[in-house]
Amino acid sequence: MANLEVKKLAKSYDGKNKVLQDISFSVNNGELVSILGPSGCGKTTTLRIIAGLLDETSGQVLVDQADVTKTPVYKRNFGMVFQSYALFPHLNIFENVAFGLKMRGLSKTEIKSKVEEILEITGLSEFAQKYPAQLSGGQQQRVSLARALVINPQLLLMDEPLSNLDAKLRLKMREEIRRLQQKLKMTVLFVTHDQQECFAISDRVMIMKEGRIDQYDTPQNIFHHPRTEYVARFIGYDNFIHFDQAQVIDNHHVKVGNISFESIDECEKAKVLTIRPENIEIVDQNKGDNTILGTIISNEYLGQSFKYRIKTELGEFQVEESRKKMRLVGEQINLEFPAKHLHALSE
């Protein structure tokens, strides 16, 4: 497969509202990159422009250094998996998978051997003569994947491929996609709005916000070092303490209200402190720094832990605690924010 480079991609439908702006990134050969974001952030638009299904307003798409921006979609040699699977309803599974090869003018014997091989790999051999409507969602999904892979594409594009499957099947399919991707050393661009899904299978994750890239990094780096509040919110940092530069004491200390906080990150150019609900500790004694007094305003049982919403002088915080007994609403408690888990964000 190939590498992909996107340079300064922009898209606007009416010349004023920019759906995409300044999208630049690259995907290395054999890498699986996810684009993550809520609906309307431009992730599908980006994918469709790369596929050639949508015209860009400006910018370039390069595959192995060759500019394909003006190449029509049917000449691009990419594979694409759609959210609706988009199988051809009037063709059986064999013919569905064979379609791309037929368009490329391969001989009947070549088509037969290639289709049979990919059906074997994807475990679909027994369904060759069935029609899409006779298959389950998971099976249709695999046909869609087989159909995209059989043409030996330079790049595999996947547009929310798992969102129409039930939770259990979604887990199974994402493992299968990852396994196939690594086995066949595919370059994959995967669009999703499911954070867990994309962290589980991606080499790198691109988080988009309002038509821009907010952060592009490995899942581990994003998880431990979110760059902005937006990214942090997206990946489950539910607690935020806003401050301004006047409240910064030194590079690792900030004083908000009467409480001084110590953070593992540098605070001098930061604006927000954030911490995950499971990293906040409920302690008996208020030791002063990094600790705040609060009252429980709601409690929720999550199975392995309890989740509380706690009201404090710095606003509400969400805390997860593993404990045998649920704390009651109205109980007064001290929250401690361990410095090693308290991150400082610049935006």
Binding site: A51, G52, L53, V73, Y74, K75, R76, N77, F78, G79, M80, F82, Q83, S84, A86, L87, F88, P89, H90, F99, G100, M103, R104, Y131, A133, Q134, S144, R147, A148, I151
Partner: protein, 276 residues
């Protein structure tokens, strides 16, 4: 509700259909078989008359030509309408149906004005020196076909817009990504998916044209009779009810047979398994 109760409930409607649909049909059919010589002799006599056979083939030819023209014209228009935004689509669909709100006689008189010897079309052709003598379009098969196309195009478009709107556009995008040019995608992906809609449209237009009376009466004149105008002439002008009944039955048989053939063709093209 149990099955027995359901059967009782269906009785009134069923009786209604029986009385209002099948009883008149049978009443028309019975006299045509009451002949002294043999049961089919009225039909044999009818088909031995070359003029009658000419009328049958003209009717059939006009209907088939109309279906083909309406399909070729309707498909691109329907595609265009179906792929508009929802509100634009609604407005366009209404506009398409608008001609059907006018009276059939009035619409056909409009075509007389357009197609006549001194009509708009001939004046236009003469002015551009495309022709030197006015063309005789009116009172020919051509004018009947033009009138029928005008009459049935909205029906075809309505039927096709419905089917196209139901299609998943991602299917065609998938074909494009897999290397299908727009032309290949049209014939290999779009048309096969539309077969049921095309079939329904063709049946409606075919049956409509075969049995239409006003249009061939006004635009065909007395020398270009079709089966429906022939029935009228036999019954009302000549008072030959027996003959009129025979033609009516022949018309029903031809229409039913053609529809059956079209259905077979459509089944052959649409290989999707029917999922009940």
């Amino acid at each position: 509700m149990n099955k027995r109760a359901a059967i009782y409930l269906i009785v009134p409607a069923f009786t209604g259909v029986l009385i209002f649909t099948f009883f008149p049909l049978i009443q028309i059919a019975i006299p045509t078989f009451q002949n002294n010589q043999s049961i089919f002799s009225e039909y044999i006599r009818f088909l031995q008359n070359t003029y009658n056979v000419q009328v049958i083939s003209r009717t059939f030819l006009i209907a088939i030509t109309t279906v083909v023209i309406v399909l070729i014209m309707g498909l691109p228009i329907s595609l265009w309408i179906a792929r508009q935004r929802t509100n634009v689509k609604q407005v366009l669909s209404l506009l398409i149906l608008f001609p059907m709100l006018t009276n059939a006689v009035v619409r056909n008189f409009a075509w007389i004005i357009i197609l006549g010897r001194d009509g708009i079309l001939n004046k236009f052709f003469m002015a551009l020196h495309i022709v030197n003598h006015p063309l005789s379009i009116l009172y020919t098969n051509v004018s009947i076909i033009i009138g029928s196309v005008y009459l049935f195009l909205p029906i075809m478009i309505t039927s096709l817009v419905g089917s196209i709107s139901e299609l998943n556009i991602e299917v065609e995008e998938a074909a494009a990504v897999l290397g299908a040019t727009p032309l290949k995608s049209f014939f290999r992906i779009l048309i096969p998916q539309l077969t049921p809609g095309i079939f329904t449209g063709c049946i409606l237009v075919f049956a409509g044209t075969m049995t239409a009376y006003t249009t061939p009466q006004i635009l065909g004149g007395n020398r270009h009779l079709v089966m429906s105008t022939l029935i009228y002439q036999q019954a009302m002008t000549l008072g030959n009810w027996q003959s009129a009944s025979v033609i009516a039955i022949v018309l029903i048989i031809i229409s039913a047979l053609s529809m059956w053939i079209m259905r077979r063709i459509s089944r052959l093209l649409d290989r999707r398994p029917s999922l009940a």
